[in-house]
């Protein structure tokens, strides 16, 4: 193949990638706009635009919002907007982390449960709930800080236990992670038994969701998630080479141990930040990377950004469903978003899997 031909294939491919990412970003923006209109309170779209416009300096003097109630304004600015942003961030984070875990482990079942990260977060949150303390830590609630600390500690525990000399074999890591995961969930079970009156607090936290997130919570997790995903993108090429086997990757100039270490730390930080505000929202990290691979292909340079955006869209839609599902019955009920992700995600994923019969992760 001549160099010209290689270059032209490359440019054709990258321009196709750019188009895909652009289309997905447009889809995300549309989903965000639709989500702003979804909820118990029926607020006309023009009112929503005025409420948001009123917050923009320079534009606010032009908008007459005297007809808009304080309640509706609070619902858009303090309930729906942070919640939508949380959905975008958490969905993006869990999907991106899923791509990294599956890439490093070369295992289709890998997700945030594998390194004990989710279980660590659950233990941290349960301890915080049982302590009965409620002091704030840089404006964050103790539960959130404890969940984050628990998640990161579990990851370091698993990683260091799996070390054999200077190497960390993937198989050992996987088995250690599973063992620690079971152990930590047993600890959560024990804490639930002794929880007494606080039992429901632990159970509700474990169900997961982001109904009442604050702007503060969003600002706290944004740096972890953005830096984590952008940082991981620079290792997308390494992930492609790791997919051919660690030996081959090493021969092609990849510092295998170092790349693995950095990717796992990044994935775990991203996950820890997400679960610290939303509890255990399942299935996004496992399913979205596979779904994206089915739709777009296995190259990590495109898989990582597209999975991230599709994860955000998917979780946002699931949260919208969680909010509107009972509205036709004049109900104020809301379903836990984690139940929606699994209820709708599972069958949809199997449908895709069946259509692409030859698919193997």
């Amino acid at each position: 193949m001549s160099t010209d031909k290689v270059e032209s294939t490359f440019f054709r491919r990258t321009s196709r990638w750019k188009l895909i990412v652009l289309l997905l970003i447009i889809a995300l923006i549309i989903t965000v706009i639709v989500s702003l209109n979804v909820g118990y309170a029926q607020i006309p779209f023009l009112d929503i635009l005025s409420i948001i416009g009123k917050q923009i300096p320079g534009l606010n003097s032009l908008i007459n919002s005297s007809s808009i109630s304080a309640q509706n304004s609070a619902i858009i600015l303090q309930i729906r907007m942070p919640r939508i942003l949380a959905g975008v961030l958490v969905g993006a984070a869990l999907a991106a982390a899923g791509v990294l875990y599956q890439g490093v482990f070369k295992n289709p079942m890998a997700d945030s449960y594998v390194l004990g990260v989710s279980a660590g977060a659950a233990v941290g949150a349960s301890v915080a709930i049982l302590s009965g303390l409620s002091f704030a830590f840089f404006g964050l609630r103790l539960i959130q800080v404890a969940a984050f600390v628990g998640a990161v500690s579990a990851m370091f525990l698993v990683y260091n236990m799996s070390r054999v000399g200077s190497r960390v074999p993937v198989a050992t890591l996987l088995l250690c992670g599973i063992a620690v995961n079971f152990f930590l969930f047993a600890v959560v079970g024990l804490l639930e038994v002794v929880a007494g009156d606080e039992l429901h607090s632990i159970v509700f936290w474990l169900i997961g969701g982001f109904s009442n997130v604050l702007w503060k919570d969003i600002w706290a997790i944004v740096p972890f998630i953005v830096i984590g995903i952008v940082g991981a993108y620079f290792y997308a090429r390494d992930l492609n080479l790791l997919a051919m086997g660690e030996e081959t990757a090493h021969n092609l100039g990849v510092n295998v141990e170092r790349s693995k270490q950095i990717l796992l730390v990044l994935a775990s930080l991203i996950t820890a930040a997400a679960v610290s505000i939303c509890g255990l929202v399942g299935f996004v990290g496992l399913m979205i990377p596979h779904l994206t691979r089915l739709l777009i292909g296995p190259d990590h340079r495109i898989l990582l950004p597209t999975s991230t955006i599709i994860g955000a869209i998917f979780l946002l839609i699931c949260d919208d469903i969680a909010r509107v599902v009972a509205t036709p019955f004049a109900s104020t009920l809301e379903l836990p978003v984690g139940i929606i992700t699994m209820l709708f995600g599972g069958p949809f994923f199997i449908f895709l899997l069946k259509r692409k019969k030859g698919y193997a992760a």
């Binding site: 309170a41 309640q71 309930i79 729906r80 607090s201 009442n212 702007w215 836990p336």
Partner: protein, 319 residues
Amino acid sequence: MNKKYLITAVALIVIIAAAAFVYIYYQSQTTDPGLAALQNLVDDHGDKTTLTAYPNKIVSVAPSATEILYAIGAGDKVVAVTDYDDYPYDFSAWIAAGNMTSIGDFTNPNLEVITSLDPDLILASGGVQKQSVDTLRNLGYKVLVLDPTSVAGILENIELVGNATGKSAEAKTLVDSLTSRINAVTEAVANADKPNVYYEVYYESTSSWTIGAKAWQNELIDLAGGTNIFGDQQIDYYQYQVEALISRNPDVIVLPASGMGTGTQATIDAVKARPGWDTMNAVQNDRIYQINPNIIERAGPRVVDAIEQLAQFIHPELF
């Protein structure tokens, strides 16, 4: 000849039946009327239990049942309670001192401990204890399930426990006094408006839970002269949308006091600081109150305390 035998036989049967009737009638007149009350005790799940004598060893598998037993003067027969029991006495201290046996967790009572005590009567509650109740009955123990769905149901439970323990008169007196206290509240609020009340079950960044029409706190709020703001929802405990609460705009907020952090004021300030809550009447008018969860969540005599406290929260101008 045959006719003669027939007449004799009929006469004999009539005489024996009459004697038996007189004997049974005489028996029922002379024995303790309380013992008759031990027949066919029907519990909240419709199961019938018959006791042959007043129970001397009672195991209470629910804090609400313990509260009823002590309130009608049958507390001296209680031999075991759950780890959650804390009223009218500090039972964990009694258990630690060896003066009371613990049957463990409310959701998972220790059946070996219960059988080793060989109780004459076990008082259980519904829901999570269903399976334990079935097992205990299969083992031959007498179990009464107290699973009321209304305040009237609690009062019936008090009379049922009274009948089962030979304290029918005491139970009747207690029920009368509770009824007159409830009537005092409902009469006082009869002509007042009914403010919207939000009752909190759980609130965290992940989700928020409250009560609908089928939780009995709904009835307590109603008796206290308020309207549960989610009383139109035909459900008991459920996850609600906060924007629905903001839209409906509660006049009064009631929080169970435990598990919400340390100081009372700190808890109330935290509620005021929740996003969007500053638009609510309850927050703007400082109408946020805390209540002891044990009096409002347990189906015992203290629900009347809860009704009185709620009435003070909802209608401070009347009390």
